[in-house]
Amino acid sequence: MRNLALITAILLSVIAAGPAFAVQPDEVLADPVLESRARTLSAELRCMVCQNQSIDDSDADLAKDLRVLVRERLIAGDTDEQVLDFIVSRYGEFVLLKPRLSARNALLWGAPVVLLIGGALLAVFTVRARRRGAERLSDEEQARIAKILDGERG
C-alpha cells in the first residue's frame, strides 16, 4: 500500500522517504488537555511538503513549525476553530486534510449522501416494479386464459 506509494514516489524521484519522528518531547505541552487538543488538530493539518502526511506524522521542519504554531495559538487561548482559521489564512485551504463544506466542495461532501439515498430509492423501485410486473399477467397470458375460460364455457 503505502510502500507502493513510495515505489511511485521513488520512481518519480519526488521524495526520499526518511524515518518519521513526528512530535518531539520538547514540543509536548504540560497541560494534557491542551496537548490532546493539539494532537487532534495536528492530525487534521497537512504537512505541505510531504505526500499525504499530517503534521502529526511528519518529521519535516515545516511540520514541526506548524505543530509549534498550533500549540502557541492554543496557549494564547484560541478555540480549535480559531486555530484552524489562523492556519488557513496563512497557508490556504490546501492545509486542511478535511476540506471545508463549501460550494466548491459540495460534490465531495454531497456524493456519499446523494448516492446512498439515490441507490436506496433505485433499489426499492426496481424491486417493487419487478414484483408488480411479475404479479400481473402479460397480454398473451391473458388471452390464453380467456381462451381456456371460453372453451370451458363453450
Partner: protein, 660 residues
C-alpha cells in the same frame, strides 16, 4: 543473451496475445469450433512466454547484470539474495511485468480449467483476456521496457530503495496483483456474456470461484501491505487513506459487493444485470488503481503533465476498456432477461442492502481520491482530502452494514422473517451487550466509543457462530445429531461464517487500538526506565551493528512487569550506505494479541535518545481478522459445488442432500 531472449519472449507473447484477441472471438461469431479452440493453447503459450521473460529479468537481477538499465537503477551487488529476487518487481518496469505475468497466468488457468465451459463462452472469455494482455504488453514494450541495455555498463548499481528491502516486498505485491488482476477474469466473463447476450445462473456459478479467489488474494495483499507499512514506516499507523491505498481498497470493496451479488445470481438468478455491471466496475477500479499508481498523477497533476507518455498510455487503456465495456453494457444489458423476484425482507434483500452500502462506500472513496485531482485540473485550486474526511464519511457508511451482517445469513431466500432472525440472534445480542458492559465497567468508563466498538465486534463474531449453530440445530436437536449436521454443512456456510467473523476480529482490533493505545514520547539515556501503563521499559544501551549493505545503531530494551521480564526488544536506526538513506527499524514485541512498539528518534545533546513507545492492545487482530477472512474464502473455494465446476446432476443431488 538471457536479456535479449527475455525481450524476444515478451514480443512473441504480444504477438500471441493479438492472436488470442481475435481468432477465438471470430470463431465464436461464425460458430467455427477449430477457430474457437485456438484460444486455449495460445493462452497457455502466452503465459509460458511471459514466464520466460520474467525469469530472464529475475536472472539478470540475481547476476547483478548492471548492463541492464533496470537492474542498475534498482539493485546492488551487496544486496542480500532475497532482495535481489524480490527487487525484480520493486520498480515500475518489473512490477508491470509481474502484472502481465499474473494476467496471463489467469488466462492460462481459464484455458486449463475451463474445459466444461460452453465453447463460445470460453472462446469469448479468452479473447477478452487477450485484449487486456495485448494492451499491457504493448504498454511495457513501448514505454516501460525492463530489458533496455546500458553501454558502457556501470560498475555498480544504485541499490533498491531501503524501504523496499524487506520480506514484505516478497509477499505484498504478488498477493495484491493476484487479487487486482484476478478480477480481470470476472471482467472477461462479464464482457463475454454481453457479447453472447446471454447470462444465467450457470454463468454466476462459473464466475464465483474466480471472484472468491481474487478477493482472497486481494484481502491478503491489503492486510499484508497494512502490516508492512505499520512496522516499516516507524510511527505505528496501520491505515493512512493514502490514494495508493485507496487504489487497492476500491476494487476490494467493489469485489466484496460482487462476491455477494453473485451469490444471489447463482442461487436465485436475480440481480443478473447488476452483477454483470459490478464485475465490469470491479476490474475497472483495478485498472484505475494501476493508472493512479503508475502514471504519477497522484503526486501532482503537473508532474503527470511533464512526463505524460506512460500516464497517457495507461489512461488510453483505461478509457478504451472501461468506456468500451460500459458502452457494451448499455447496448446489451436490455437483452439480458431479468431473473427471480423476491420480497424486500429476504436473503436477497439483505444482499441488496449489502451491495448498496458497499458500492456507496466505494464511490465515496473514489470521489475522495479523485476530487482533488479533478478540482486542480479544472479550476487550478488545490485542496487536500485526507484521513479525517474518509473517517467521517466511510465510517458512518460501514457502521450500519456491520450491524446488519449477522442478519443476512439467517434470513430465508425469497421471503424472510426478520423477527424470527432477531429472535435467533438474541443470544448473540446478549453477548454483545455483555461485552459492551464489561468494557465500559472494567476497562474504560470515559470513551463510549470503546464499549460500542467492542460490542459491535462481539456482535459480529457471535452472529457468525449463531448462523452455524442454527444451521446445525445446536440446542434443539440431540448433540450427536447436530454435530453430524454441522459436519455435513456445505463448506461455503463455514466460509461465510469465517469471513464474517474475520470482519468482526478486524473491527475489534481497530476499536481496541484506537480507544486503548497509549503513546509515550520521552528522552532516555542508557539505564533509564520508562513507565508504560504499570509496566517498565528499561533502556539497556546502544551498539553499532554492521549489516550486509547497511550500518545501524541498535538500541536494546527490556520490558518487564514487577521485576519479571516480559521480553526484550531491539529498535534501530539504519543507514543504507549505497543511497546514504536512513530508515527506522521499529522494535516490536508481541505479547498475546497485543504489541509493544518502540521507535527511535534523534540523539539529544546530553547523550540521551528520543524514544517513542506505543502500547497497542489487540492490534494484531486487525491483520489476523484479514487472515481469517482469507481462510473463509479458501474454505468456501473447496466447496463441492465449486470444485466440480459446472454441476453434473449427481453433484447437484449431493449438494441438495447435504444442505437439507
Amino acid at each position: 543473451m538471457i536479456v535479449e531472449a527475455g525481450h524476444f519472449a515478451l514480443v512473441l507473447a504480444f504477438a500471441l496475445a493479438l492472436v488470442q484477441s481475435v481468432v477465438p472471438l471470430a470463431g465464436a461469431r461464425i460458430g467455427e469450433m477449430r477457430l474457437m479452440a485456438v484460444g486455449g493453447p495460445v493462452a497457455l503459450a502466452g503465459f509460458a512466454l511471459v514466464g520466460i521473460a520474467f525469469a530472464a529479468l529475475t536472472a539478470t537481477y540475481i547476476q547483478s547484470d548492471f548492463s541492464v538499465a533496470n537492474v542498475w537503477e534498482n539493485s546492488h551487488s551487496l544486496k542480500p539474495m532475497l532482495y535481489k529476487v524480490t527487487g525484480t518487481w520493486g520498480n515500475h518496469e518489473g512490477s508491470m511485468l509481474l502484472w502481465v505475468l499474473i494476467l496471463t497466468f489467469f488466462g492460462a488457468l481459464v484455458a486449463a480449467f475451463g474445459r466444461n465451459l460452453p465453447a463460445t463462452l470460453r472462446a469469448n472469455v479468452l479473447a477478452v483476456q487477450g485484449w487486456i494482455g495485448a494492451a499491457f504488453l504493448m504498454f511495457i514494450l513501448t514505454t516501460s521496457n525492463p530489458f533496455a541495455r546500458l553501454d558502457p555498463a556501470p560498475f555498480e548499481g544504485r541499490d533498491l530503495n531501503p524501504i523496499l528491502q524487506d520480506i514484505g516486498l516478497a509477499i505484498h505485491p504478488p498477493l495484491l496483483y493476484l487479487g487486482y488482476v484476478g478480477f480481470s477474469v470476472c471482467f472477461s466473463f462479464a464482457v463475454a456474456a454481453l457479447i453472447d447476450g446471454r447470462v444465467d445462473a450457470a454463468w454466476a456459478r462459473w464466475v464465483r470461484p474466480w471472484t472468491l479467489a481474487a478477493w482472497m488474494f486481494l484481502t491478503g495483499g491489503i492486510a499484508m501491505g497494512s502490516y508492512w507499512a505499520y512496522y516499516e514506516l516507524g510511527w505505528g499507523g496501520f491505515w493512512f487513506w493514502d490514494p495508493v491505498e485507496n487504489a487497492s481498497f476500491m476494487p476490494w470493496l467493489a469485489g466484496t459487493a460482487l462476491l455477494h451479488s453473485a451469490i444471489v445470481m447463482e442461487k436465485r438468478s436475480a440481480l443478473k444485470i447488476w452483477t454483470v455491471l459490478l464485475a465490469i466496475l470491479t476490474f475497472s477500479l483495478s485498472l484505475l488503481g494501476t493508472f493512479l499508481v503508475r502514471s504519477g498523477v497522484l503526486t501532482s497533476v503537473h508532474a503527470f503533465a511533464t512526463d505524460p507518455t506512460r500516464g497517457v498510455f495507461i489512461l488510453a487503456i483505461l478509457v478504451v476498456f472501461i468506456g468500451g465495456s460500459l458502452s457494451l453494457f448499455a447496448w446489451r444489458a436490455g437483452s439480458l432477461t431479468a431473473g427471480g423476484i423476491f420480497h424486500p425482507i429476504s436473503r436477497e434483500g439483505a444482499l441488496v442492502l449489502n451491495n448498496l452500502f458497499l458500492t456507496t462506500a466505494t464511490a465515496t472513496v473514489l470521489v475522495g481520491t479523485l476530487y482533488p485531482l479533478v478540482l486542480e485540473a479544472v479550476t487550478g485550486d488545490k485542496i487536500s482530502v485526507g484521513a479525517p474526511f474518509f473517517n467521517l464519511t466511510f465510517g458512518p457508511l460501514m457502521l450500519p452494514l456491520l450491524v446488519l451482517i449477522p442478519f443476512g445469513p439467517l434470513l430465508a431466500w425469497k421471503r424472510g422473517d426478520v423477527y424470527a432472525a432477531a429472535q435467533r440472534l438474541m443470544a448473540a445480542f446478549g453477548g454483545a451487550l455483555l461485552a459492551m458492559l464489561v468494557t465500559w465497567l472494567v476497562v474504560d468508563r470515559v470513551t463510549v466509543f470503546a464499549a460500542l466498538g467492542v460490542g459491535l465486534a462481539a456482535w459480529m463474531v457471535l452472529g457468525a457462530l449463531t448462523d452455524l449453530a442454527q444451521k446445525s440445530a445446536l440446542g434443539t436437536a440431540p448433540l450427536g445429531v447436530s454435530m453430524r449436521r454441522l459436519a455435513g454443512l456445505p463448506r461455503s456456510v463455514f466460509g461465510t461464517a469465517l469471513a464474517h467473523m474475520g470482519v468482526g476480529l478486524t473491527t475489534l482490533g481497530i476499536a481496541a487500538t484506537l480507544a486503548f493505545q497509549s503513546e509515550h514520547i520521552t528522552v532516555m539515556k542508557p539505564g533509564d526506565v520508562a513507565d508504560i501503563d504499570g509496566r517498565s521499559l528499561r533502556f539497556e544501551g546502544v551498539a553499532p551493528v554492521r549489516g550486509p549493505n547497511y550500518t545501524e545503531t541498535r538500541a536494546q530494551f527490556v520490558f518487564a512487569k514487577d521485576g519479571r521480564t516480559l521480553g526484550e526488544i531491539s529498535s534501530a536506526k539504519r543507514l543504507y550506505t549505497a543511497r546514504q538513506m536512513p530508515t527506522t527499524e521499529a522494535g516490536i514485541l508481541t505479547l498475546g494479541l497485543s504489541q509493544l512498539y518502540v521507535s527511535l528518534g534523534d540523539a539529544t545533546s546530553n547523550g540521551g535518545m528520543v524514544v517513542r513507545v506505543w502500547w497497542k492492545p489487540l492490534v494484531t487482530l486487525i491483520w489476523l481478522g484479514g487472515l481469517v477472512m482469507m481462510i473463509g474464502a479458501a474454505v468456501s473455494l473447496t466447496d463441492r459445488r465449486l470444485r466440480v465446476g459446472a454441476p453434473s446432476r449427481k453433484a447437484r443431488t449431493a449438494v441438495a442432500a447435504a444442505s437439507q
